[in-house]
Amino acid sequence: MAGVGSHAARIGLVRFAGEVPYAPALALQDAIASSVKKGSLPSLLISLQHKPCFTLGKRGKLDDVLARDEEAKCDGVEVVRSNRGGEVTYHGPGQVVVYPIVNLRTIKFGPRKYVETLEDAVVHTVAEMGLSARGRVPGATGVWIGDRKVAAIGVRISGGVATHGVALNVDPDLSKFRDIVPCGITDREVTSVWRELGGRGPTAEEIGDRLLRRLAALLGSPGGGFSPLSPPEMGEVEGFARRVAPGASFSVE
């Protein structure tokens, strides 16, 4: 369990292009988290979009994947179980996914404050587009516009380091959410930024950028920017990324 208080710490960025399958991203998070725990890497934000997949947290019930015939595939969309908190959700292109791999002990954040910070970052980011959203809803972690969920959050804390993070819907295929009981919640709609704007808006890449900067400001150094990684740190991250996702294109800052 992590501590609480105020902070000032380095935070780096790894940004993937294209669509990254879920399992390699899990493996990458674990590898980076190990290094963050040991101290050979500073906290890092991993930014990406996923190939279409349904994912289950520890509690997620396969029954919540409604249209399935078998565990492995659901209408051609793969189903993967992970060790994060939360229940079932959909990931896919058009959805901004950020996995902050953060040493909560260094910045002295407890689990509650950390999750609220993730929510706050999303709320600020969508507010810049004129959308009024809220987090910190008791019993309903995530970011809501009205009673429609625009961003899901699932976090795992191990050895004081947080993994997994936030998925903000910009313009994903919302119909996929009808194939599941998202986050175990049956009676609330899932929405997206474009849907709330009533049409095209900034791209997922643009919105992702703004969210990353906001997260860096809230989780990292007070100046708000990313701290460039040193060459050995960069090498370590590139090594992990190449091993788990060979062929993926990414940049490390």
């Binding site: 369990m1 520890k58 060790n83 908190g85 689990p111 509650r112 404050k113 976090v155 804390i157 947080a162």
Partner: protein, 199 residues
């Protein structure tokens, strides 16, 4: 709105609330805040939102409801040993009962799921023995001692919220036959733990 800040958590919170309820029932002229201050010797502090259960119990005392706000600090129980990672150990002969502290449960939020080890499994000091998942996050918990798990609290499977409501009592997680008593020397007593939470 009256307010008071309460150290020592749940027990004191009930005490303060009882005074307020009695004061409302008596229709006493003396401001309730002053009565509480007298009875409990506490000063005043910031206003915080009232928990629903407290509001309901006050409103049942006839007529006017005085919104009453009290902020509870985490309870730390004397006589237990504490790990930096917010687990406690209650030692009884060869056996240690293990759980998470009031501070830990309040940081986590409402617990919805608990993963415990099997009876017979070995746990190692400072290594993960299970996972506690709240509405906020799934968090590893660490064993303060090394030894064999002799009992786990199955009640938590059906009612994980016991970790929130009774972190030191009904929310106990496992009992371990301690193989190396020197592990306990590395743990904090209640005063040291309390101080470390205030950092």
């Amino acid at each position: 709105m009256l307010s008071t800040s309460v150290r020592q958590g749940a027990r004191q919170l009930r005490l303060v609330r009882n005074v307020a309820v009695a004061a409302l029932a008596n229709g006493s002229a003396q401001p309730i805040g002053a009565q509480i201050a007298q009875s409990c010797e506490f000063g005043s502090a910031a206003l915080v939102p009232l928990k629903k259960t407290e509001l309901v119990s006050l409103s049942q005392v006839g007529g006017n409801i005085l919104p009453f706000a009290a902020r509870g600090y985490a309870t730390v129980v004397d006589g237990l040993k504490y790990a930096e990672s917010h687990e406690w150990a209650k030692v009884d002969g060869e056996t240690a009962t293990i759980g998470i502290t009031d501070f830990a449960q309040s940081e986590l939020g409402d617990v919805v799921y608990v993963e415990l080890p099997e009876v017979g499994a070995t746990v190692e000091a400072k290594e993960t023995f299970g996972v506690v998942e709240s509405v906020k996050a799934a968090s590893d918990v660490y064993s303060p001692v090394t030894g064999e798990v002799v009992e786990v609290n199955d009640a938590l499977v059906d009612d994980p919220s016991k970790l929130n409501s009774e972190p030191f009592e009904g929310g106990w997680m496992m009992k371990v036959k301690v193989s190396d008593a020197s592990d306990l020397d590395g743990l904090m007593d209640s005063a040291a733990y309390s101080a470390s939470c205030d950092e």
